[in-house]
């Protein structure tokens, strides 16, 4: 009896909070049939927003993967005293509101910001342009690779790396042939999570993007703009595309988890 009650509680909770809202979006998006949905999605601004979202994730996620592995390596293998501070820094994006992240970037790279004048003088535009949006996305999706790789690396230990060194492998060879294969599932998991976060990021990107339709508008920003303009079909259709992206990442994560087991 208690078992059934627990299961009902778990399913009810997930249904009310997750499944129902997502299902309602699908329902509303297809309210005017597949053709209505398709017309909404095929808007040039919508297609550009999807392309921009994929582009930003395509830059931010690989960079986070590379630096995430480096950070994890330092966190696990080095004996530095200040590595606790590094650990706290890595977790910062979990704690700081994305809007604050966006504002901080404006303060640094905006026209009135610390680096703003120098950048402007050299014709580099960060805020209201792609670089700022990539930076904001990197900031919020930074912890995932590190947090997934650290426990795997800690559990694996460094004996295999030492063995590789005694066998004549250079540090570079050791990394590619021994370290990376032993943490590959952690990296893959972290990449999937950080991609999901990158696709969906709204707050930080919205501050630095300037949200010019067809130029600096990502998919989440597009959804918001459509919604504000009372184009509900357009908003729901774009939401469905976003949801499908998220579902695809989740399924790939699931597939990875199964492969690992």
């Amino acid at each position: 009896m208690a078992k059934i009650a627990l299961r009902l509680a778990a399913f009810g909770y997930l249904a009310a909070l997750l499944a129902l809202p997502v299902a309602s979006i699908f329902y509303r998006a297809f309210e005017h049939g597949v053709i209505g949905f398709w017309q909404a999605v095929a808007q040039p601004d919508a297609i550009h927003a999807l392309w921009l979202t994929l582009l930003i994730a395509g830059i931010a996620v690989p960079l986070n993967a590379v630096f995430g592995v480096i950070c994890a390596h330092v966190l696990v293998r080095s004996h530095l005293r200040w590595k606790r501070i590094l650990g706290l820094l890595v977790d910062l994006p979990f704690a700081v509101s994305p809007v604050v992240v966006g504002l901080a970037l404006v303060l640094l790279y905006g026209n009135q910001g610390w680096f703003g004048p120098w950048l402007a003088a050299h014709g580099i535009r960060v805020i209201f342009a792609l670089p700022g949006m990539v930076l904001a996305t990197m900031f919020v999706s930074l912890p995932f690779v590190v947090r997934e790789v650290v426990p795997v690396m800690r559990e694996t230990g460094d004996e295999q790396e030492q063995a590789a060194a005694t066998l004549g492998a250079s540090p570079w060879q050791t990394f590619w042939k021994v370290t990376l294969p032993s943490i590959r599932w952690g990296v893959a998991y972290g990449v999937v999570l950080s991609a999901a976060r990158a696709f969906g990021e709204y707050g930080a990107v919205s501050v630095v993007a300037g949200r010019l339709a067809g130029i600096t508008q990502t998919l989440p920003l597009y959804v918001d703009e459509r919604f504000e303009s009372f184009d509900l079909t357009g908003a729901y259709a774009a939401s469905v595309v976003l949801a499908l992206l998220a579902l695809a990442t989740l399924f790939s994560m699931n597939a990875l988890a199964r492969k690992e087991a």
């Binding site: 063995a163 590789a164 005694t166 066998l167 004549g168 492998a169 250079s170 032993s182």
Partner: protein, 330 residues
């Protein structure tokens, strides 16, 4: 290839793992670094390998200073206690690793790996992953992997520590035979003095970060430098102020010259060997290792008064024994 350490000191935070250690290891020898856990023997091995950098002192490999030579260029084979197998590679790939990073020719690699798998009796298991091997097989794979690069020096860190007794005995004999055939300078770490005595030509006894004594197994057993060495390298008991091996205690029913009176407290039959616990007149305990026949001849019983003396004893004048030292006897 000979190895020498000169005044090597190594600290980990506040713990001094090695203090001012100097050791010479002859080319082609089979040397055991033996001592209690935490005494610094593994650190010494890792310093030789280049896995740890000494804080001060020098490591000479074949007369050349090696402190600044990175691990991968030292040409040493290292076998880890817990195998350090590359889990994502097959047995064959594990053994081939050192040859592949050297960019050796493919057919030469194949030939060498196959030969080594045969040498360690793992032929036919090359396609397996380390997780599909037993502990003994994994350790043999680790040995083959270390030998693949034709090291001038083979270092083994507690190589048989994680294996059960039967496999351990088999691998000991196998290592001894391997050394006879390959004749590479070999150093292994063990906390088991029996293992050291059985396999090694020379023993370096390390305790609390320094070398207590170096010599052949027989020298350490028969001429220990101090009570610690004597107690670590074999059983020890005390008659008065003298340290005695329990098998050197002579037990009789009648007094003899310089014999001490003692009472039999316990008789433990261990097959051929019998352990007799004694209480001396001064209230201190001792024990004698006797044969079954000796005990039968004396008709030893509990509470019986006997007269004991040692046929060979050792006195250490400079270094009086402490209880800690005697605590290691058992």
């Amino acid at each position: 290839m000979s190895i020498a350490l000169r005044g090597v000191t190594k600290r980990f935070d506040r713990h001094v793992a090695l203090k001012d250690v100097s050791v010479d290891i002859e080319s082609g020898s089979l040397t055991a670094l033996v001592g209690p856990s935490g005494g610094g023997k593994s650190t010494l091995l890792r310093v030789i390998a280049g896995l740890e950098r000494p804080d001060s002192g020098d490591v000479l490999i074949d007369g050349q200073t090696a402190v600044d030579v990175p691990v991968q260029d030292r040409g040493i084979g290292f076998v880890f206690q817990h195998y350090a197998a590359f889990k994502h590679m097959t047995v064959w790939e594990n053994v081939a690793f050192g040859l592949r990073v050297r960019k050796m020719r493919r057919d030469a690699i194949r030939e060498r790996v196959d030969h080594l798998l045969h040498l360690v009796q793992l032929e036919g298991l090359g396609g397996r992953y380390p997780s599909q091997l037993s502990g003994g097989q994994r350790q043999r794979m680790a040995l083959a992997r270390a030998l693949a690069i034709k090291p001038e020096v083979l270092l083994l860190d507690e190589p048989f520590g994680a294996l059960d007794a039967a496999v351990r005995a088999e691998l000991r004999a196998w290592l001894r035979a391997l050394h006879r055939d390959v004749h590479v300078t070999t150093i292994f770490v063990t906390h088991d003095q029996g293992e050291a005595m059985e396999i090694a030509d020379r023993i370096v006894l390390i305790n609390r970060g320094h070398v207590e004594q170096t010599g052949t197994p027989r020298e350490l057993y028969e001429r220990p430098a101090n009570p610690f060495v004597m107690s670590f390298i074999g059983p020890i008991t005390q008659l008065g102020d003298a340290f005695v091996r329990p098998h050197d205690i002579d037990v009789r029913n009648i007094p003899a010259e310089s014999s001490l009176e003692a009472m039999v407290q316990r008789i433990v039959h261990l097959g051929f060997e019998v352990r007799v616990d004694l209480m001396l007149a001064d209230g201190r305990g001792a024990w004698a290792q006797m044969t079954r026949d000796e005990v039968d001849q004396l008709e030893l019983r509990l509470g019986q008064i006997v007269y004991v003396r040692s046929s060979r004893e050792t006195r250490f004048h400079s270094d009086l024994p402490s209880h800690a030292v005697l605590g290691n006897a058992g």
